[in-house]
Amino acid sequence: MSEWQPRILAILCNWCSYAGADLAGVSRMQYPPSIRVVRIPCSGRVDPLFIMKSLQSGFDGVLVSGCHPGDCHYISGNYVARRKFAVLKPLLEFIGLEPNRVQFSWISAGEGDRFAKVVTKITEDIRELGPATRLVKKT
C-alpha cells in the first residue's frame, strides 16, 4: 500500500509560478503528484475566500504562488496580494488551523527546481498533519 497522497490546491499566477511549474516538468524534475493547479492571471487576483472555500470543500492544503517581489507582470499585483496573505496566514493559524495547511511562495519562471522543492515540502508537511478535518464541511 502506498502512502497517503494529500490533495493540495495550487493557485499559480500565469506569468511566473505557472511557468515555473511548466519548467519543472520540461526539466523532468519529479515531485509528489499532490497538487491540483488553478491558473490565474496574477496572485493579486486571489481573494482570501478562495483559500477558505478550498479548505472547506476538502482540499488538504492550499498553496498560492506568484512572482517574486519586483517581478510582477502587472507591476504590483503581488504586493497587493502579499498584504492580504500577510494578514490571512496568521489569522488562520490564530483560529487554530495547522500552520502548514496554507502556504504562500514566490516562484519565478526560471525556478523549476524551486517549484518542485516547494511542492515536495508542502506535501511532506501536510502528510505529517494528515487529512484535513478542521474547516472541512461534512456533507
Binding site: S2, E3, W4, Q5, R7, N14, W15, C16, Y18, A19, A21, D22, A24, G25, V26, S27, R28, M29, Q30, Y31, P33, R36, V37, V38, R39, I40, P41, C42, G44, R45, V46, D47, F50, K53, S54, S57, G58, F59, C67, G70, D71, H73, Y74, I75, S76, G77, V80, A81, K84, S108, A109, G110, E111, G112, D113, R114, A116, P131, T133, K138
Partner: protein, 1018 residues
Amino acid sequence: MKNKKNSVLVLGAGIAGIQASLDLAEMGVEVHLIEGTPTIGGRMPQLDKTFPTNDCSMCILSPKMSECARHSLITIHIMSNLEEVSGTPGDFVCRVIERAKYVDPVKCVSCGLCEAKCPVKIDDEFDMGLRKTKAISRYFLQSIPSEYTINPNYCLFLTKGVCKLCEKVCPTGAINYQDKDREIDINVGAVILATGIDPFDPIGFGQFGYHRYSNVVTSLEFERMLSASGPFGGHVVRASDEKPPKKIAFIQCVGSRDESIDKNYCSSACCMFAIKQSIIAKEHSKELDASIFYMDIRAFGKDFDKYYDKAENHYGVNFIRSKVADIVELPGGSLELRYTFENGDIQLEVFDLVVLSIGLQPRKGSRKLSEDLDIRLNKYGFCHSDTFHPLETTRPGIFVCGAMNGPKDIPESVVSASGAVAGAVKLLKLERHDVSKGEEEVIEKDVIGERPRVGVFVCHCGINIAGVVDVKNVAEMAKGLKNVEHSEDVMYACSTDCLEMIKERIEEHDLNRVVVAACTPRTHEPLFRDTISGAGLNPYLFEMANIRDQCSWAHMNEPEKATAKSRDLVEMAVGKARNLTPLKRLPISIDPEALVIGGGLAGMTSALAIADAGHDVYLVEKESVLGGNMRDIFFNLDGSDPQQFLAETIERIENHPGIRVLMDSNIGEIAGFVGNFRTMLTNGSGEQEELTHGVVVVATGGSEHKTSEYLYGRSSRVITQKEFERMLHEEKFPPGKLREVVFVQCVGSREEGRMYCSRVCCSKSVKNARQLQSKKAKANIYFAYRDIRTYGFSEQYYSDLRNSGALFFRYTPGNKPEVEMVHPDDPDSRIRVTLFDPVLEKDVVVDADLLVLAPAIDPPEENLKLAKMLKIPLNSDGLFLEAHVKLRPVDFATDGIFVCGLAHSPKDMSESIAQAKAAGSRALTFLKKNSILAEGTIAQVRKDRCSGCGYCEDVCAYAAIEIDMEEGIAVINDALCKGCGACVASCRCGALDLRGFTNEQLFSVFDSLEIEAVEGIL
C-alpha cells in the same frame, strides 16, 4: 521572391531584434527576423537575474518571445544568415541563407524522444559548455521555436552515415536527413542590424589562469551557475571539488579599458553585472564573502548607485579598489590573488572562486558582415554610428541597434531598437490599419442562454502523456462529468488533422465549450482558441488542463497517481469551462495626433520621428525658444558640432508641415486615456486652447543643480561646467593667467538627497578639459573625482586626458576637496584648493585660477504636477518611472504615454536622441492603428453593489479605475485595464469581477472535486 516593400528585415533575434520586430509589426509592417542560432532570445535567456531590480530574466523575456512568435506579421528565420543587401533605401533585396535543420518543424511536436536516444554528447553552447547536450536538441528548454534541430557537425549519420536512432524513435516522422540549405531573397524597405556582442574570451589572459585553473570562471559562466535552470540547478559549486565556495572574487575590466589589447573602451555593463552577481551569490548563501576588485565603479544608470550602495552596505559586498596582478592556484584548487592598492601596497588573499568580469566585444564575423553589407566599423570593430545619428550605419537605409555599435545594457538595447524602428519606418509608406479586422470574419455562434455542452479532448502527446497517464481512463471518466457532451482521447491534439477533427466534433455534437487536456496553455492555448474560433465558437469558451508539463513529466514513476491527478485536473477544467462566457475585445479608437511636452533635443527628436511617419504633432514648450539644455552645449568629444545640429533640427521642426510648435505654453489639464486625450493649454498671452490627441510624449528635460558648495556664487572664479563650456566657446576667459584649473566632479550627485549619478558629467568634464588644453596649452588640470565614469567609447578621451598630464585626485564623500579664497575679501581672488592624493597619501594645495564644478542634473519641479495630471509615477529622485526598467524603458504602465530624455534620467545627446526616437516609435505603434482592441479578460463593475470606497482605484497599477464622485461608484476604463484582478480581490462588496476569471468560474473550480472529508489511500 517575396515582394513586399513595406517590410523590414531585422538581423539578430536578441532582445534588440525582438523589440524592433514587435514595434514594426505593431505598426503594421511585415518583418523578417533573421537569427543565426536555433532560437530567438539572444543573450537574455542565459541570464539568471537582471540589475538593478533582480528581475528574473526569463520571466520578463518569455512573454516577448512568445508574442514575437505568435505575431502574424513576423516571420522568424532561425539558423539563417544575411549574405548580401542590394538595391536602394526603400527597395532593398536581401539574400538570406536558411541552413538545413534536418527536422521538419511542421511535424516535430517537441516531444524530446530523439534527444533522449541520441548517442552524441556535445558541449552545450547555451550553458557555456558547463553541461552537455546532444547532436539533436533544443537550444535551451524554453526555445522559441520549440522544435528540435540537428547539429550537422556532430550528427553521426550526417558525418559518418551511421545511427539514425532519432529517425527511428520520432513518432511523427519529422527527421529529414536530406534537408538542404536554402537561399531566399527578401524584398524590404529597410534593414535593422541587431547582431549584439560576444563576451570577451579571457583565454589569452595568462595571469588570471582562465582554463588552466578550474575555479576561475567568466561572469557569463558564473551567471549560468547562479541560474536555477542552469547546469547546477542554481547551486553555486566549484568545478574542482563541487563544494560551495565561501569566498568569491570578481575581477573587473577583463577585456575592457585595456589599451594593450586594443580595447580602450569601457564595456559599460560589467560593474553592474558583478554587483548583481555578488548580491545574488550572497542571497544564495549569507555566509558567502564576495569581493569586487575594480578601478572605478561605473554605476551610472538610473537607480544603479542605489543598487551599488545596497550591495556594499546591506549585503556587505567588499569593494576593493586595486589592480589584480596575478592569480596562483593553490593545492586543493583555491586561488591566491596578488593585488596592488592605489598607494602601491601589495596584498595577497586566497579565494575559493574567481569570476572574471569579462567585457563585451564585437561579434565574431562582424568584419565579414560589414564587408558584405558595405557598412563601416569603428576602430574597435563595433558598427560605426555618429553622435547625432546613433542608430544609423554608414549605409543609408541600414540601421543599427543593440550593442552592435557599442556596449549597452538591456534597457539601452531596447531603447535603441525602438529608436532604429523610427528610422526604418520613414522609408516605408504606412497606412493606418485596423487591428480588429480579421477577427470578425467567422460568424460567431451565440451561446448565451444555452445549456453548457462541453467537449473534452485528452491528448496522448505520443508517449509523453500516454506513457505515464492512462489517457483512455481520463477520457472515459470525463464522459460522466456534468455537462460533458463528448469526450475522447487523441494522439496529438495540436496536429493539423486533430485540430480539424475538433472542429468537426464541435459541429457534430453542437459543443459550446471545449476542454483540451494536454501540454500547457502557455504555449498551446492560442492555437486551440484559434481552432474553436474557426468553428464559430468564441475563443474564450476554451479551457485547458495541463496534464503533461505539470503532470506526466513531473510524475514519471507514479503512473496511477498521475492518472488520478489528471482526472482531477480535467474535472476542474470542466468545472471552469461550464461557467465560461464569450468575451469580446472592444475596439478603442485612436486619434492620430501626438502631443510632445518639451521642446529640447529629446522633444524635438521625438516630434520629428512621429511627424516624419505622417502624424500631426503638437510640440509644447514653456519657454520662448526651442533647444533646451542643448543651447549650452558647444563641443562634442568626437569633434562634431552640436550647435550646427541644433540649428538644423530647429529648422526642420519649424518648417515641418506636420508639426505645430506651441511656444510659451503651459499645460493646464490633461484628461482622457490612450487614443483619446484632451489637453487644455494656456499660451503666453493667457489664451486657452484645447488639443485632442492619441498619445503623449513626456520630454520635460532636466536642469543643472543649483549648488552652494565650493564657494559657488561667492567667487567669480568658481563656475559650473555649463558656464565653463560657454566660456570656452566664447573664449572669454577671466582676466589674468589661466594656469591652474581644478575640476570637481559629483557636486550634488551620489550623496544624500540625490542618490544618483548624473551620468554625463565625467565625460563632459573630460571633454571640456580637452578643449581647455587645445585653447590654453599651458593650463594645468587637476581633476577631483569619486569614480571616473567615462563609459563606452568615452573612455579613450579619458585616457587621452590622463596621458596629457592632467592630475587626478580621487576623493570620498567624507573627504571632499577643501576650498578657500586666497584673499577672502576679494570676490575675484584665486581659490585655494586642498586635494588629498590617495596615491601619495598626502594633501596637495593648488591656488586655482578657475574652479570648475560638475553639478548634478535635477529633474524639473513641474514633473510632480505633470505626474499627477497623467497619473504616472515618479521615482524617489523625482524622475519619471517607466513601466519596466528593463524591457519597457520608454513606456509608462498607463498606455499611450511615453517618456524620453532627461525626464527619464540623466543622459547624453546621443542617448537622448535614441530614446526620443524610441518614444516616437512606441507612440507610432498606437498611432498607426485606427483602433486598438481592449483586453478580453478585463475587470467589470456591478454598479448596484459598488460603494465607491476606492480600494480598487488605489491598487490598480494602470490608473484604469476611477471613482465617479457624483455617483459614488467605480468606473473602469476598458482601454487601460490589463486584467490582473488585483482590484477584484480587493473589492469587499463583490462589485468587481474579472472576465475570464470570474468568482463564479473560480468557485466552480474549487468546488469541482468531490473530496470526501477523510479520503482513503489511493
